[in-house]
Amino acid sequence: MDKPNAAATRVAQFEIFHTQFLDPSGRVKGELPAFAKDREQLRSMYRWMVVTRAFDKKAVALQRTGQLGTYAACLGQEAIGVALGLAMKREDLFIPAYREYACQFIRGVKMRDILLYWGGDERGMLFEGSGSPHDFPLSVPIATHIPHSIGVAYAMKLKKEKRVVVASCGDGATSKGDFYEAVSCAKVWDLPIVFLVNNNRWAISMPSARQTGAQTFAQKAFAGGMPGEQVDGNDVIASRFVLERAIERARSGGGPTLVEALTYRLHDHTTADDARRYRSEDEVKAAWDNCPIKRMKAWLTAQKHWSDTDEQKAVEEGTANAEAAAQEFVKFPAEAPEAIFDYLYAKLPKAYEWQRDEVQAAGPKGGHH
């Protein structure tokens, strides 16, 4: 606001910065960060995006053919997941919403496990063999997982661990009190947290402008007293750069940061949604021009870091991985029916033993998603 009267003095002032290195046409601006000068790093980042997209495509196909339950696709949002996956250390802790598969794959979660969960099997969240078995499972309710980061980070700080928590959510989640309660207090204890707002412009049928009248989601950081910045979430280089900086700030005792990553949900909200009901084809077409894979490929190709043969190989590899995961998922034997009792408590109380016995005696009921 303007200075309201002559006696008023300015007590605080805030600015939001937006970072983009790679524009939608694949042109670079500014001085690239060190990791972006490493050819193998760049190729790996691109490959992870392709692999994730192949998985996503397979998952949707499985749902469309009745082999998977409702699935939330990450089409168009691959760059943020890849950037985050590479920016985090193994010992850091990820508290995801859903749709952050790329990050999870990089952290060692099996593709099969993501399919298992959406396929109606809790064992998918066991993260068997993951390099980060301390990561949280997917969280379906909106924003309720974000304040868990406060307790997790508090515990890490109490134990003097040099670990960082990343809690991610979408633009819609910023409307919830849970989000604010976490953002509001993280700085009180200078907790090592990065809040990542994955602004994909749509919360089912509601555009982000209907979530808040604020100009950016990044500025919500300022109400909590922490730095907030915006990054082009479809620029994998910028996303990794910004997230790495925020994560290292947290690790070195600098406290929390909120990063808003601008992207676009190219797919329906989930396979149970039809986005044509509420947004125009023109808008989606324009968003495809912004695709994170397209721009990275254009730039890598121009730099002679990537060839048609590389592309063919990456797509084949991605498709084969997804296919193998799908096969593993489909063939995964059902859990015993009485397993529904086995993780309610550390030890099932005597009061419920008869129910477990009844289920066990009745045997499998069959039925899928």
Binding site: M125, L126, P133, P137, P147, A153, A155, Y343, L344, A351
Partner: protein, 329 residues
């Protein structure tokens, strides 16, 4: 052995477990310097420091969520919610995460945590400070709901709740916090979290209750004794999981049963207990199971709260009905 009030026994349990186990942390609003609005945490911050006795911002959802986060990292958080009506913002966190993380991750991530709160009315507090919340939580799978009714049980059950590997809701009888003293031995021994207590043996009728209503139930048993009626008094103590065996054994012995609950009658835990007795103990009954419960109204403000809360007379009235149907032979 010291004579303690319930609030002192609760303080002692936390103090003693914090000394024993460095992973125990306490969190909540005004629990540090102020010692909690009821002084349940009095002196703990002074003794264990601000890192382990954490004053939180004024946000109940956050308190529950923070406890969840802490509990997944090897800490054993004991969260305090100031008044039962402010437990509602915690319900989402408890039902969607605390009770489910073990199940959702097939045992990979667990939530050993306690949420303590004063529960029930009778202290002339403002609106929302006197709600009976036990039924809300007792219906949630994966949870333990504990309602102590005397100092020794408050001590032993709170120790058990803190040591339990799963989330526990610990609802304390506000109006009994300083009502009476009784001996508590600080021996570090926990009580079982799946067991009802027969605290007074009798032969003619079983009176079943928990939490604050145990006080009126005890007085009713005293009044009945003067009328030569021998009442057995069962303190359910842990509502979830429910110790049906103890309840059924008592009813089988007496053949008569009245259940006393402060929570609204319809769908209350008294109803759950009555349904179970009807299913499994009907043939040992001489008369219908009667419930004495809060009315199906909103908890009134101070002037009318005694209209709502069952008193000894309401308990005796139902007992009389039972003996009219099935006189003592």
């Amino acid at each position: 052995m010291a004579n303690l009030t319930i609030i002192e026994a609760i303080n002692l349990a936390m103090n003693s477990e914090m000394a024993r186990d460095p992973s125990v942390v306490i969190l909540g609003e005004d629990i540090g310097k102020n010692g909690g609005v009821f002084r349940a945490t009095l002196g703990l911050q002074e003794k264990y420091g601000t890192d382990r006795v954490v004053d939180t911002p004024l946000a109940e959802t956050l308190v529950a969520a923070m406890a969840i986060g802490m509990s997944t990292q090897g800490l054993k958080p004991v969260a305090e919610i100031q008044f039962s009506g402010f437990l509602y913002p915690c319900v989402d966190q408890v039902v969607n995460h605390a009770t489910r993380l073990r199940n959702r991750t097939r045992g990979r991530i667990t939530c050993p945590m306690v949420i303590r709160a004063p529960n029930w009315g009778g202290i002339h507090a403002p609106e929302h400070h006197s709600e009976p919340l036990e039924t809300t939580f007792a219906q949630m799978p994966g949870l333990r709901v504990v309602c102590p009714s005397n100092p020794a049980r408050a001590y032993g059950l709170l120790l058990a709740a803190i040591r339990d590997p799963d989330p526990v809701i610990f609802l304390e009888p506000t109006r009994c916090y300083r009502l009476f003293k009784s001996p508590v031995e600080d021996n570090g021994e926990a009580l079982p979290l799946d067991t009802a207590f027969v605290e007074r043996e009798g032969t003619d009728i079983t009176l079943i209750s928990w939490g604050a209503m145990m006080h009126e139930t005890r007085l009713a048993a005293d009044a009945l004794a003067e009328q030569n009626i021998s009442a057995e008094v069962v303190d359910v103590a842990t509502l979830k999981p429910l110790d049906l065996d103890t309840i059924l054994a008592s009813v089988a012995k007496t053949g008569r049963c009245v259940i006393i609950s402060e929570a609204p009658r319809a769908g209350s835990w008294a109803s759950e207990i009555a349904a179970n007795i009807a299913e499994h103990g009907l043939l040992s009954l001489f008369a219908p199971i009667m419930r004495v419960a809060g009315y199906d109204t909103i908890m009134p403000l101070a002037r009318q709260e005694r209209v709502y809360i069952p008193d000894v007379e309401r308990i005796l009235k139902e007992v009389r009905k039972v003996f009219e149907i099935a006189p003592k032979s």
